[in-house]
Symmetry: C2
Subunit: 335 residues, 2 copies
């Protein structure tokens, strides 16, 4: 288990350690035959550069720290794909940590990454307090994904929740709906803005009188509960805009449990266009965030600071689209 070091390779190749270092870093000014000799020796010995030592000496880790607050949420996996692609192109590694859905867990994960002296930080859907984020950003370039800090100097990438909500509402309005209710996402990231966007869009459509919000959260149970509340009413809505896909799935279950069908009796729109929405027989109409692109942009923002030395704050807002599927249709008139 004693791993060969650069010194060993140098000796085996009959050159100095510095020359081996040059070869390993792919520096240009090395003669072809020496380069080959070094590579051969390294291969023969099974040499593997020690990233720790390299980083200690070079003050860079070539690693980005990515914190995901919930691995089970497809939102994060999608964003990660974009980040990974961009990072790989720049030759950076990723170190992933997860907050385990708790704020304390997130703080711990953040601390871990800072101790590893990662070159930059991408916090996806982070729920920790703003001051902790600012503190981290003061030490290491940081980009927030799916959240923004308006009061502080931290880069961010998020989608325009207002537009997303408007797309959902407009789509339903165009289909002829008026009684469009919203099951909100409680304290989830972006939930408040989705709700505000819904209310604004309803007003813009002249439907202020039909605004109706029931409380839920970003889970299936939240959707079940929200739908139950709505269906218990004397004059239930004809369409439901749920805070996210999981919530919509819950709402659909409840609708079906009561013997109604979608979209004949109720139209249903979700948010996130996650893997759930796409599942063939669910086929949920959903607001789609360009996750991969967002991840891409987040990594890009980091590199702008790391490589180009940008210092001014950038708050990037992307525009969601609507993926129309099988859960929306014209209202039946009345129930």
């Amino acid at each position: 288990m004693a791993r060969p070091t650069m010194e060993d390779v140098a000796e085996a190749a009959g050159v100095s350690r510095a020359l081996v270092s040059l070869v390993m870093r792919n520096e240009p000014n090395v003669s072809a035959h020496r380069r080959q000799a070094v590579l051969e020796a390294a291969d023969r010995l099974g040499y593997r550069p020690n990233v720790l030592a390299r980083n200690l000496a070079s003050h860079r880790t070539m690693t980005l720290g990515v914190m995901l607050n919930d691995l089970n949420n497809p939102f994060f996996a999608g964003a990660l794909d974009g980040i990974a692609e961009r990072a790989e192109a720049e030759g950076y590694q990723l170190m992933l940590t997860t907050g385990g859905k708790t704020v304390a867990g997130e703080a711990g994960a953040l601390e871990t990454m800072l101790r590893f002296h990662v070159d930059g930080l991408i916090l996806v859907g982070a729920r920790i307090p703003a001051n902790e984020i600012v503190a981290a950003a003061a030490v290491s370039p940081t980009v927030l994904l799916g959240r923004a800090l308006r009061s502080s100097e931290v880069d961010s990438v998020k989608n325009d929740e207002g537009v997303g909500s408007r797309l959902a509402v407009q789509h339903l309005v165009e289909l002829g709906h008026q009684r469009i209710a919203h099951i909100d996402g409680g304290r989830g990231a972006g939930a408040a803005q989705r709700r505000a966007g819904y209310e604004k869009a309803m007003e813009a459509a002249g439907l202020a009188a039909f605004v109706e919000v029931v409380s839920g959260d970003f889970s299936e149970a939240g959707g079940v509960h929200g739908a139950a509340t709505l269906l218990d009413q004397e004059a239930p809505p004809t369409a439901i805009f749920a805070a996210n896909d999981l919530c919509a799935v819950g709402a659909r279950s409840e609708i079906r449990r009561r013997g109604f069908s979608v979209p004949e009796d109720f139209s249903l729109v979700g948010y996130d266009n996650s893997v759930f929405a796409e599942l063939g027989h669910l086929s949920l109409t959903s607001v789609s965030q360009p996750l991969a692109e967002m991840g891409h942009r987040a990594a890009e923002l980091l590199f702008e600071r790391l490589v180009c030395g940008r210092t001014e704050v950038v708050r990037h807002v992307v525009t969601p689209t609507l993926a129309v599927r099988a859960t929306t249709g014209s209202p039946r008139g009345n129930l």
Copy 2:
């Protein structure tokens, strides 16, 4: 951005660097007042230990490398929870990498972790060739999760696919099914064993004549295709056992598309008991692997080698159970 070092803390606290080191490592033989002085100085300066330097000097990283081959598959997220819990209890960090669903990506991820000199490796659902796994295991203690290497000396934790398949078949047999077909998982991890288990269970139930396997894979599309093949037959099966949940979801879509219903016309069983299976309105009967426990065990095996110095190989097999939900019922007699 110039981070304070241990030297700075030592100076600020009026002690030697070695003493600061002792305090940071929570070593016992330090007087209370000095310890406090050091902690205060560290806090005041915003000192954060440099894990890189620590690891270089101590030859340990206190970090486990975990490779997941697909973040989108809930199977992995579940296993990770178990790993994370155990690792945290031992004071170890996790470094996650993802193979991006490709073998080449897995190899790259593995190499990355080895260069970081992680203390141990857990490969979840790895698809890379056995010799590369053996090579990694020779350098760093390694545990395979969801796969086993019978020919080589590598620890592993996996579920008994044979039992899983048998549970599925027996359940269907008890409901009265005879024509039970299997949509297999192609080259996915464990697919071959699930298939073999299915065949064996069918024979054991005296249904050897009804054994029928159509090719699919661990995806929705595979399920759609497999179900289409089965339903096109003159005498279609009355029950379908799919290689995994996603595959089952695809099969269900196809069944529904053709105007049949589940479980009235066809019973359907999945595998993995993933988040898809639980979704209220899907409610898929599925073979359930104790994911968290498996992750737990995997981490445990690593610590046994790391801490206790175990050297003999352990191949741990856990027993799956069947989560019976709404997609299985008695056959209708005939179609």
